[in-house]
Amino acid sequence: MSAREEILGRIRAALKDNPEAPQIPRGYRKSSGLDEEALIELLVDRLIDYKAQVCVVEAAQVSARIAELLASAHSYVVPTGLDGGWLAKLDDVRGAGRGRFDSDSAPLTVAELDGIDAVVTGSAVAVAVTGTIILDGSPNQGRRAISLVPDHHICVVKATDIVGILPEALRRIDGTRPLTMISGPSATSDIELERVEGVHGPRRLDVIIAR
C-alpha cells in the first residue's frame, strides 16, 4: 500500500466514530466601520509603532516624496508596472544611472539585487488596525525578490486601498497569487522576547500614503 493510501486509511479509521463537522459561528467583526480619515490616522499610528517611517501626501506629491527618499541611494530598483507618474521626478530611472527596472523578461539576478540600495513598489491593500501592507505581485509591485533583497523598501499605499481589519483586506485579494504581508521592517523577538527591528528583511521601510 502506498503511504498516501495508508495514511488516509489510518485517518478514516481514526474517525470511525463519525464526528460531525460543527456549524461555524462567525460572530467576529467583518469590517471596522471607520472612514478614510480615521483609517489613515490608524495606519500611520500602527506603522510608526513598528518603527516604519510614514508620510501622508497628495497623489501629485508622491513622485517628489520618492525622489526625496531616494536622494541618498546609490541605486534603486522598480517593477516595470510601477505608476509612471511616481517616477516623474526621477528622470534618470530609465537610463544607465541609479535606477533599474525589473521585469519578467529581464529579471535582475539575486547578486544584482544585493548590490542595489532601495526598491520602490506599490501595494495591493493595507490593513489599518494591524498596520499591515499586502503585496500580491501585481505589475506595480513586481516579484517578491525585489521587495526583499534591497535594504530599503519604499512602499506607496493609495488611501483608497486602506481597509480597517484583516477580513476586509483578504476579501480584496486573490489568495493564489504569491502574497507577502508586511507589518513594519523586519524584526525579531528571539532575544529575551524583546522586539528588535532589523534582521534579514529590509531594515528600513518607508510608507507613502497617497490621498
Partner: protein
C-alpha cells in the same frame, strides 16, 4: 476509548523527537537547579504575557474569533480525509508535488532524496516544528547534507549544539550575554568586540547568514497553514529569513503535519487574527508569506510538500484527545504555565514542551512510550493554558483523560495491589458515607499525638512520603469542622431559626 486492543485498526504511533527519555519529575528536578534558567524564563514569559494581554484587549471580538477558530479546527478534523484530497488536487494542479510520509524516518528519507536530486549538499532552513519533530537536521548531517537554521533563535540553538526549549523562541532559556558568548565562540567572522545589545546580536546574525541566503539553491520549511480550497501554503514569521528561503532558492521543500489544513481562504482571516497576538503579543507579525504551487518568474520553480502523519492519526483516534491537533503552535500555553515557567522546555523531553506538549506528545506516541506517561502529570491543572489557547483546546481535561489512560495501562499488570490502590479503596469506603467519615474524624485528636512538640508531621510513611518531602503537615485540629459545627449549634437560641440538626448535616 481506553483501549484499541482487538479492534481492526490499531493506531500507529509517531517516532522521532517526541519522547521523554527521562521522567518529568526527574528532569524537572534537575532543571530547577539551574537558577539562571529560571531567571531567563521568568523574565521572558512575563514580558510576553503582558504584551499578549495588551494586544488582545484591543480586540473587542477576541472571544468570537476563538469560538470560530475552535469550530473550524473541529470541522477540519471531522473532514480530514476529504480536505487532504482537495488540498492535494489544488496544490498539484498548480505545479506542486506532494509526498506522503507515514513517520519520521520516511519523511527524513524523502527530504534527503529530494535534496540529493538537486545535487546540493547545503540547504537553508526556516524554523519548523515538524522538521524538529522528525529530527531532520541530524538525519541530513548523517547523509552529508548541511542544514543551516536561519531563524535567529534556531541559529543560536544550532550554534550552541543545544536543544530548543520553546516552540516559538527555541532559545528562550538563553539570555543576551549567553547568546553573545555563543556567537563569539561559533561565528567564524564575527567582530570580537561584539556587545550583548540585542540589536547588535541581530545584526551579527544578518551578516552571518546573508551570503547563505543569496547563494542557497534549496530551502526547507514548515508551514503554519494550508488552505484546502486553493492549495495555498502560509509561513508566518518576523525576521525575513522566511521570505529569503521561500523566495530566492530554486527548490523549496516544505514538511507539514496533516492536521494543519484550513478549509477555505476565508478561514485565514480568523487564524491570522488569532496567531500573532497569541504568539509574540503583536498586532501582526512582521512578515507572512503565502504561495500556491509554482508561480512562473516569482520564487522557487520546484515546490515539494511532504505531508506527515507520524502519530497524528493516532491522536485523532482518541476522541477525548483529538482536539490537541487543533494546536496552531502559538506557544501561549507555555508562556502562561506556572510549571513551564519554572522547569523550562527541556524537562518535557519531546519537541513539544509545556501544556500542549504534555498532551500532544503522549497522544502521538501512545501513553506507554518511554517516559511520556509522566507528562500528563506535569501540571497543576490550574487551567491558565485553556484560557490562553486561541483555539480553546481544553488542555486540563485532556491531561486528566491521559492520566486515566496511564492508570488504565498499568492495571492488571500487577498481582499485588499497590499502596495507592489500597489507599484509594479506603478513601472510597470512607468518603462514600457521611456516617463513616464522621466516625473516622473522631480519631483526629489521635493524630495530634503523633505530631510531637513541634505540632507538625514532617515525615509520612510509604508513598505518602512524597508529600512530606518538601513540606510539613500541620497537626490535625482537635476536632473536625462538623463536630465543631454541631457543638456550636446545639445551644438553643431565642429569636433565631432552628439550626439544622447534626444528623441532617451528616446525610448531605
Amino acid at each position: 476509548m481506553s483501549t484499541f486492543l482487538g479492534m481492526p485498526s490499531l493506531p500507529v504511533y509517531g517516532t522521532g523527537n517526541l519522547h521523554a527519555s527521562e521522567s518529568f519529575p526527574k528532569a524537572a528536578h534537575r532543571e530547577l537547579g539551574n537558577a539562571q534558567l529560571r531567571v531567563n524564563l521568568g523574565h521572558a514569559t512575563h514580558t510576553i504575557r503582558d504584551k499578549r494581554i495588551q494586544v488582545i484587549s484591543e480586540l473587542p471580538d477576541w472571544e468570537h474569533l476563538r469560538d470560530t477558530g475552535s469550530a473550524i479546527k473541529e470541522a477540519v478534523m471531522a473532514r480530514l480525509p476529504e480536505l487532504l484530497e482537495q488540498f492535494e488536487e489544488n496544490f498539484t494542479s498548480r505545479g506542486g508535488v506532494i509526498h506522503w510520509a507515514r513517520d519520521a524516518g520516511e519523511a527524513n528519507a524523502i527530504v534527503a532524496g529530494l535534496i540529493r536530486e538537486t545535487g546540493e549538499t547545503e540547504v537553508v532552513k526556516i524554523k519548523s516544528m515538524a522538521t524538529q519533530e522528525i529530527g531532520l537536521n541530524e538525519y541530513l548531517e548523517g547523509q552529508g547534507i548541511s542544514a543551516f537554521e536561519t531563524d535567529l533563535a534556531e541559529l543560536i540553538v544550532q550554534l550552541d549544539h543545544d536543544k530548543p526549549s520553546h516552540i516559538l523562541v527555541p532559545a528562550i532559556h538563553k539570555n543576551r550575554t549567553e547568546i553573545r558568548d555563543i556567537f563569539l565562540r561559533e561565528m567564524p567572522s564575527v567582530d570580537p568586540k561584539l556587545t550583548d545589545d540585542p540589536a547588535v546580536l541581530a545584526a551579527a546574525a544578518r551578516a552571518h547568514l546573508r551570503r547563505k541566503f543569496l547563494t542557497a539553491r534549496v530551502a526547507v520549511s514548515g508551514a503554519n497553514f494550508a488552505l484546502a480550497d486553493s492549495g495555498t501554503l502560509a509561513v508566518v514569521e518576523s525576521e525575513g529569513n522566511g521570505r529569503m528561503c521561500l523566495t530566492l532558492p530554486e527548490t523549496l521543500i516544505t514538511v507539514m503535519g496533516v492536521e494543519k489544513l484550513l478549509p477555505t481562504w476565508q478561514d485565514l482571516e480568523v487564524f491570522m487574527q488569532l496567531l500573532p497576538p497569541s504568539s509574540t503579543g503583536e498586532r501582526m507579525n512582521p512578515y507572512t508569506s503565502l504561495w500556491t504551487g509554482v508561480t512562473e518568474g516569482d520564487g522557487p520553480q520546484t515546490v515539494h510538500l511532504v505531508l506527515l502523519d507520524n502519530g497524528r492519526s493516532a491522536a485523532l483516534a482518541d476522541e477525548m484527545g483529538r482536539s490537541a491537533l487543533h494546536c496552531i503552535r502559538c506557544s501561549a500555553c507555555m508562556n502562561v504555565c506556572p510549571v513551564y515557567e519554572r522547569t523550562g522546555g527541556h524537562a518535557y523531553g519531546s519537541t513539544y514542551p509545556g501544556p500542549i506538549g504534555a498532551i500532544l506528545s503522549p497522544l502521538m506516541t501512545g501513553i506507554q512510550a518511554e517516559e511520556n506517561n509522566s507528562l500528563p502529570y506535569a501540571s497543576s491543572l490550574c487551567g491558565a493554558c485553556y484560557d490562553a489557547c486561541p483555539v480553546k483546546i481544553n488542555i486540563p481535561d485532556i491531561l486528566v483523560h491521559l492520566r486515566s489512560l496511564d492508570v488504565d495501562s498499568k492495571r492488571g499488570k500487577k498481582k499485588i495491589p499497590t499502596q495507592m490502590d489500597a489507599g484509594m479503596k479506603a478513601a472510597s469506603w470512607a468518603l462514600s458515607s457521611g456516617k463513616r467519615l464522621g466516625l473516622l474524624e473522631k480519631g483526629l485528636p489521635l493524630g495530634r499525638l503523633a505530631t510531637g512538640p513541634a505540632k507538625k508531621i514532617t515525615k509520612l510513611p510509604g508513598i505518602a512520603a512524597g508529600w512530606t518531602q518538601s513540606r510539613d503537615i500541620p497537626a490535625p485540629p482537635p476536632q473536625s469542622f462538623r463536630t465543631w459545627w454541631a457543638k456550636e449549634h446545639r445551644r438553643p437560641k431565642i429569636d433565631a431559626a432552628p439550626a439544622p440538626s447534626p444528623e441532617k448535616e451528616d446525610q448531605r
